[in-house]
């Protein structure tokens, strides 16, 4: 079994699976159970400033969307930061870290955006012996109305400023947690780096309304007839998070900045994908909230056996390997020409490929009287929609046309050389390739 030991910012953990700052990490009881279950680390649920703690709503805090068999696909929450006393949390953190020295314990913090507030709390956190801090600049609900959370994360200058304060008043690693509720994720990531942050973690939750109750005409979850947007997480958000992670990983201004990946990690494969895009580890919440802490066993065994299959002996072997393959559209090879191929042996004759192509795409699939579906190469643009709607995995595949053959759609010979939009004759801004 491959070794899953991870070193993130010098913080060692037995595996790359950390629990994200959220209800599962709100108190000692849960965190001890998580460590016993095998989690590599936790980011303790966000601490606020000293004084009377925040209060939560007393109605539903979560909303969800499901598949037909109630598989939870997306979760939305309106819970605030910890509503327990600051010193209670600090004492518990101290005890837990003392008892689990091999696990990562990170403390999430959200205090008002002024230097005094940060200067006050950071020494208290330092005393716990925790391995680092994560700045909650992400929560999009409740706290943001008070100028914290995503209200800070949406202003790169604030991020840089607070990161600087943290580096000034705290000696251990500082991770900035980013909100996805922003147009260009590289801006706040750059600000974090400029402020001296050691890493970024992303994504925090996405502004969301999961459903509308059509009887009382209110968003869900509904509290006394009203609803508020919440933060969306779970498997549904993973594609958004992967894209944001990749942008930070490949952007010259932030390339190399350590990333902790968050968003819908449910199985080992999700983690491997985040790590391939440059994340040093991942944080998990919804999967644990849906199935309990035991899910980490599958994550560890799956990641380890996949690494064995691939010959990776350490997570460092594959972290970031996919980053060089993330590019801009304009650099994609326009001479790469493929066609859909339908395996008649695997086809179950449902006709979904036909309906999709005929009604909504390129009329490139024919249907015979006896329900044989075939690709019309002269029309197929290789869009892949038929592959995506086919219920049989592997039944429809994309086959590359060999260079030298003729594409029946265009009548042109398939070129062997790479060529992209930047040099395409239809591009008014095309430039001649350098000799």
């Amino acid at each position: 079994m491959a070794d899953l030991t991870t070193d993130f910012l010098g913080i060692k953990s037995p595996n790359p699976f950390w629990l994200a700052s959220a209800p599962p990490t709100d108190k000692e009881y849960n965190v001890r159970r998580a460590f016993e279950a095998g989690w590599g680390g936790v980011v303790w649920k966000t601490l606020g400033e000293e004084g009377p703690p925040v209060v939560n709503v007393n109605g539903p805090r979560y909303g969800a969307i499901w598949g037909a068999d109630r598989r939870l696909l997306g979760l939305n929450n309106i819970e605030l930061i910890t509503d327990r006393d600051l010193y209670t949390n600090l004492e518990e953190i101290t005890r837990v870290k003392r008892d689990y020295p091999d696990r990562a314990v990170i403390v999430s913090i959200m205090v008002p955006c002024d230097e005094e507030s940060w200067k006050a709390i950071l020494p208290l956190v330092e005393e716990t012996g925790a391995d680092g801090i994560e700045l909650n600049f992400g929560c999009p609900h409740g706290m943001s109305e008070r100028g914290m959370g995503s209200a800070v994360g949406q202003v790169p200058e604030y991020i840089q400023m607070v990161a600087e304060w943290c580096k000034k008043y705290y000696s251990k690693p500082v991770i900035v947690k980013l909100t996805p509720n922003i147009t260009d994720i590289t801006k706040p990531a750059t600000a974090a780096k400029l402020g001296g942050a050691d890493a970024v973690s992303l994504i925090n939750t996405i502004n969301s309304i999961t459903a509308v109750d059509l009887d009382c005409m209110a968003p869900e979850p509904t509290i006394d007839g009203k609803g508020s947007h919440g933060g969306y997480c779970g498997p549904a958000v993973k594609p958004i998070a992967l894209s944001m992670v990749s942008e930070i990983a490949r952007n010259p201004a932030t390339h190399g900045l350590p990333i902790s990946g968050i968003g819908g990690v449910t199985t080992w494969r999700d983690a491997a994908e985040y790590m391939a895009l440059g994340c040093g580890n991942v944080q998990v919440c919804t999967a644990a909230m849906t199935y309990g802490f035991k899910v980490v066993e599958e994550m560890c065994s799956g990641l380890s056996s996949w690494m064995d299959e691939k010959g990776y002996t350490s997570t460092a072997d594959f972290i970031g390997m996919a980053v060089p393959n993330v590019t801009d559209w304009q650099h994609l090879n326009l001479n790469y020409i493929s066609k859909a191929r339908i395996s008649q042996d695997d086809c179950i004759k449902c006709g979904r490929c036909f309906a999709a192509c005929e009604d909504t795409s390129h009329q490139a699939i024919s249907m015979s009287e006896d329900r044989v579906f075939e690709v019309i190469d002269a029309e197929c643009v290789a869009c892949n929609l038929c592959v995506n709607v086919c219920p049989v995995e592997g039944c429809i595949t994309m086959e590359r046309l060999e260079p030298g053959t003729t594409d029946p759609r265009t009548g042109r010979k398939v070129e062997a050389d790479y060529a992209n939009w930047t040099t395409h004759p239809n591009n008014p801004g095309a430039v001649t390739a350098a000799e």
Partner: protein, 444 residues
């Protein structure tokens, strides 16, 4: 009442009332909301779906399943019933394994079709649970139509004619409407008096006058109906029962399976219904299965269903035969009855072994004798009481197009006409004949 579990002869109360009640519960429990959601999710919403083609009434199955997915089962029911007004019964009795579910592409994918029949029941049950009839009548046409036979074909025809604004008189020979749905289908497929409830619901359209106790050729004649109505539809089914003509077949307790099923369906107290300890059913169709299974469910110790040809030639579907075997029915093939033996009542029945040869079925010379204190003959029904003047096609009423007989103004459909003898086929024929009657009458 004492329980006569192992008593010889034909006896009531072979099981306790509780045991019998448990045996005759719904063959397929209705789907709950979540089950229906999961089952519906398996539908691929195929283009030009094969299941629609496979349904004799051409129900838009992918659409109704999508309506269930969308949380609107009553809309699904409306889609079903618009094509097949007896969609509730068809959901219970259709051999879906040889119709829609056989065509389901999930069979090719993984060998398990979408549960179309159960989903259909889920949708239709929801409509029938409502207090209002979901279809309305067109403006009155002033036309009067006689429908003979209140079985599936007649009911479907009458309903569609009533919808079109015609006045329908529905004649039925028996005491109750429903035809085979009421008298001929196994009790465990139509529990809680469903057949009667469905007819009541169907009649909610209005414009249909039901007259029971009127048998064609006895209290009414075709000529009178032709004179008195603008059109006539005959859905008279197959009233005659075939008999093999065996020595001893008139002995006591050698009965027609259809009579046994009829008695069972009309019984208020199944524990009071006598059944043999050792029962032999002769035949290989659905009626044979229904009789054999129900004899077991009443507590017969051994039940054998004996068919003269091989397994593949059986009229009953694989699913039905497997169900019979699962219920403890011994299925014997390639054995043709040669004599029913006994003194006053049946004691055993002798069969000759057969094999299929180039010149048809031949006996091998081997005989087998099965102990039997009750024998049911289930070798088919035949047309009986056809009015003079109607041309026949083989042993059925000849029709062209949507049920037009050789007599002008007379249509026919259901089991009395050629085609498969299935409830769903009868519904399709009754419906289509009604459409043709309507367009014929409204043209002139």
């Amino acid at each position: 009442m004492t329980v006569n579990h192992y008593a010889d002869g034909v006896k009531p109360a072979r099981l306790t009332g509780e045991e019998i009640a448990a045996n005759f519960t719904d063959m397929h429990a209705p789907l709950g909301d979540h089950e229906a959601s999961v089952a519906a999710d398996r539908c691929y919403f195929c283009h030009d779906a094969p299941c629609i083609t496979a349904c004799p009434t051409a129900i838009d199955i992918p659409l109704f399943i999508r309506q269930i997915q969308g949380g609107k089962p009553a809309d699904a029911g409306q889609t079903i019933l618009g094509q097949n007004i007896l969609g509730g019964m068809c959901a219970r009795v259709c051999p879906t394994e040889t119709l829609c579910e056989e065509a389901c592409v999930r069979n090719a994918a993984e060998g398990e079709p979408v549960e179309i029949g159960r989903l259909q029941r889920y949708g239709t049950d929801r409509v029938m649970a409502g207090n209002t009839h979901p279809f309305s009548r067109a403006e009155p046409t002033g036309k009067r139509i006689a429908v003979v036979g209140a079985g599936p074909a007649g009911l479907a025809c009458a309903h569609r004619l009533a919808m079109k604004g015609h006045e329908v008189t529905l004649y039925e020979a028996r005491k109750k409407p429903g035809g085979l749905n009421e008298y001929g289908i196994a009790a465990y497929k139509s529990v809680e008096n469903f057949a009667a409830r469905e007819v009541d619901w169907l009649m909610g359209i209005g414009g249909i006058t039901l007259k029971t106790g009127h048998k064609l050729g006895e209290t009414i004649t075709l000529a009178e109906l032709q004179d008195g109505y603008d059109a006539v539809f005959l859905g008279i089914g197959l009233a005659g029962v075939n008999r093999p003509g065996l020595p001893g077949e008139t002995l006591d307790n050698c009965d027609d399976a259809v009579d046994f099923i009829d008695r069972l369906r009309q019984s208020d107290d199944l524990a009071a219904l006598p059944v043999g300890r050792d029962v032999v059913v002769v035949g290989g169709g659905m009626t044979a299965v229904d009789a054999a299974v129900q004899a077991r469910k009443l507590g017969a110790e051994t039940v054998s269903m004996v068919y003269r040809r091989d397994r593949a030639a059986m009229g009953a579907s694989d699913y039905e035969v497997d169900y019979a075997a699962q219920q403890g029915v011994r299925v014997v093939t390639n054995a043709a009855p040669s004599a029913v033996n006994g003194d006053a009542g049946v004691t055993d029945i002798t069969f000759e072994r057969t094999k299929s040869g180039p010149s048809g079925l031949a006996t091998t010379g081997e005989t087998i004798t099965l102990k039997a204190d009750q024998v049911f003959m289930a070798i088919g029904q035949r047309l009986d009481g056809v009015p003079d003047g109607l041309e026949l096609d083989g042993r059925k009423i000849a029709v062209s197009g949507p049920g037009r007989t050789s007599l002008k103004g007379v249509w026919a459909g259901g089991d009395c006409t050629p085609g498969e003898d299935l409830t769903v086929v009868a519904v399709a024929e009754g419906r289509d004949a009604a459409e043709d009657i309507h367009s014929t009458l409204m043209e002139g």
